[in-house]
């Protein structure tokens, strides 16, 4: 790359000092700050996960008492959902790369963006403050089901307020992205010339915008119930706990697509780059994101099949649940076809994506078993569900997150990571991950309920396998994270376009200058992934 020798200041160096970070309006710096926060919370949440696995090594008490265990899995769930996975890809990579992919220099409302970040910090503070204030962290499970969440003496109010504030942060991020996509695309880039990651963020943002308020108000009702006795959900003073579940899942099912869609966008970016060919079925992938976002609103009832929901409602929710699987399967088939007649370079980011597809298949297909009414009656609230959602969330989104981190690492820091260590870390993580979670699926089919501090002796063996898996997983993760940190400090300098990608972020320097582009980026004529060197198909 010729431009390397020209003098320029990267966004990392343009201004210095801690204040230039904390109050920056630059989307890239905000993205990085999110990254540090989110990874930190991932480690906290993961450590709690590790603790749970220790406790479950043998039946009976290994480490903590039941009350503490319940607080641990609640905090684990709250951290992983609200502080890690929902903001993960949108707030980090969306912030950093959406403007780059669109060929602009920032999001539409940079100040609002900073506000979202600070709300995230405030929410995080609330979530952790439960450790100090009140009678300890909530012990309700991340679902805060009434009436237990109204009755328990633990500090539910604060945990719930944390979720409320984080929801607000998430709404503002979504709002910002929608306006950015509508208003700031580079001239001549129509919606159908947008990179697929932008499409997936667009779909995600709509969910963040329209679903989050519903949980916001629901959580406020819980707070009002605890503080003022506004008994909307506790039957002993008035309300109906089933209605709480409806309200909760109206948000929280769409929320699983807030987690999944951006990850799918990442896959759609990375596969063409390493296959060096255009994506198969651009429109099918783009529009299926919108379809998932839309249908995803109407399936929340599948979390309530055993709650005493009426037969007709169960019927409708089940069939809609199955329908939402179809746009996902369209994506999977298009991804696999994108490898066809490519010229594939195997690099760690690509491996993460293939692992994503494999894990997400397991997660998604087990989701189908849960969507079937009869099977769900047996599987609901067992470890099968726990297995399902770790496969989609960690095996899916988590892997996409780490894949994206490797893919864009050179762009973000201008350094290349150590590839050998990255391979090793990936391999250990992948193996460990499957040893950790596959046994859970079997445990669930055998009937081990979730949120169990103690279990029947016949479940011991598989629990132990799973615990051993968690140790392997840690090893892999530590290798990956240490490798990235070390490489960020003294890795080899990376070129502007190490993977030979053609989306716009590769047209600028690594790391990009403060205003992203020093000249107008050019968009490929026949769609964002039209590799000039490939044969016409």
């Amino acid at each position: 790359m010729t431009s390397e020798t020209l003098p320029y200041t990267s966004y990392l160096k343009e201004k210095t000092g801690i204040m230039s970070w904390l109050f920056t309006l630059d989307h890239k710096r905000i993205g990085l700050m999110y990254l540090y926060g989110i990874v930190a919370f991932f480690l906290v949440g993961a450590t709690l996960g590790l603790l749970m696995r220790f406790e479950l090594l043998n039946p009976g008490k290994d480490l903590v008492d039941p009350h503490t265990y319940n607080q641990i899995f609640t905090l684990h769930g709250v951290i992983m959902i609200f502080l890690f996975i929902i903001p993960s890809i949108p707030a980090v990579f969306g912030n950093f790369f959406l403007p780059l992919l669109l060929g602009t220099d920032d999001v539409a409302f940079p100040k609002l963006n900073l506000l979202s970040f600070w709300l995230y910090v405030l929410g995080a503070f609330f979530a952790l403050a439960t450790l100090i204030f009140g009678d300890g962290p909530a012990d309700t499970g991340w679902t805060f089901y009434a009436p237990y969440s109204v009755k328990t003496g633990t500090n539910v109010t604060m945990s719930v307020l944390a979720a409320f504030i984080l929801g607000f942060s998430s709404i503002l991020t979504g709002l910002n992205f929608i306006v950015t996509i509508h208003r700031l695309r580079t001239p001549k880039m129509g919606f159908n010339q947008m990179p697929l990651f932008a499409w997936s963020l667009y779909a995600t943002s709509w969910i963040q915008l329209l679903a989050t308020p519903v949980i916001g108000i629901t959580l406020l009702m819980i707070v009002a119930e605890r503080m003022f006795g506004i008994g909307l959900f506790d039957p002993s003073i008035g309300g109906d706990p089933i209605l709480y579940q409806h309200m909760f899942w109206i948000y929280s099912h769409p929320a699983v697509y807030i987690m999944a869609l951006p990850a799918m966008g990442i896959v759609s970016e990375i596969l063409p780059t390493f296959s060096q060919r255009t994506i198969f079925g651009y429109k099918a992938i783009a529009y299926s994101s919108m379809a998932i976002a839309f249908i995803g609103y109407f399936v929340w009832g599948h979390h309530m099949f055993t709650s005493g929901m009426s037969g007709p409602a169960a019927y409708i929710f089940s069939i809609l649940t199955f329908l939402v699987a179809i746009p996902t399967s369209i994506k999977v088939f298009n991804w696999v076809s994108t490898l066809y007649k490519g010229s594939i370079v195997i690099e760690v980011p690509l491996l993460f994506m293939l692992a994503f597809i494999f894990n997400f298949l397991i997660g998604g297909l087990t989701g189908l078993a849960l969507g079937a009414l009869a099977a769900d009656v047996h599987l609901h609230d067992t470890y099968f569900v726990v297995g399902h959602f770790h496969y989609v969330m960690f095996g899916g989104t988590g892997f996409a997150f780490f894949g994206a981190l490797h893919y864009w690492f050179p762009k973000m820091w201008g350094k290349m990571y150590n590839k050998t260590r990255a391979y090793i870390g990936f391999a250990i993580l992948f193996v460990g991950f499957n040893i950790l979670y596959f046994p859970m699926l079997i445990l669930g089919i055998q009937g081990m309920p979730r949120r169990y501090y103690d279990y029947l002796p016949e479940f011991t063996f598989l629990n132990q396998v799973s615990t051993v898996g968690s140790w392997i997983t840690v090893t892999g993760l530590i290798i990956i994270i240490v490798n990235l940190i070390v490489s960020g400090r003294n890795g080899k300098k990376a070129t502007d376009n190490p993977w030979n990608g053609i989306t716009l972020e590769w047209q600028t320097k690594s790391p990009p200058p403060l205003h992203n582009f020093d000249k107008m980026p050019t968009i490929p004529e026949r769609g964002p992934y039209d590799y000039p060197n490939a044969k016409r198909g």
Binding site: H182, R183, L210, V214, L243, H246, I250, Y297, F298, G301, G308, M309, S310, G311, P312, A313, I316, F317
Partner: protein
């Protein structure tokens, strides 16, 4: 980007007529409710219908929706459809128990 030079400016008169219509509708709905007491469910329906007419007037004229590009109306339609769907699904569950 385009600036807002060509924005439609709503006249005072238009605002005033909107207001007049809203006030009339308000008295109408109070009237139906207070004096049409034995209409029961019908009166819930009329009350909601009148409220919706009022809301549309506010959105269309006060909030300028009438003069905005189509995309605004489309978004609004999506939001309302979504909410309607939430209501329908919950109603189905509660009515068919």
């Amino acid at each position: 980007m385009e600036n807002n030079k060509h924005e439609h400016i709503t006249s005072y008169k238009e605002h005033f007529s909107t207001w007049l219509a809203l006030i009339l509708l308000t008295f109408m709905t109070v009237f139906v409710s207070v004096f049409g007491a034995d209409l029961r469910t019908l009166s819930v329906a009329t009350a909601m219908l009148i409220a919706t007419i009022k809301a549309t007037a506010v959105a269309y004229y006060f909030m300028h929706l009438k003069y905005e590009p189509k995309i605004y109306k489309a978004m609004m339609a999506v939001v309302l459809a979504l909410f309607a769907f939430f209501m329908i699904m919950i109603t189905i569950d509660y009515l068919t128990r």
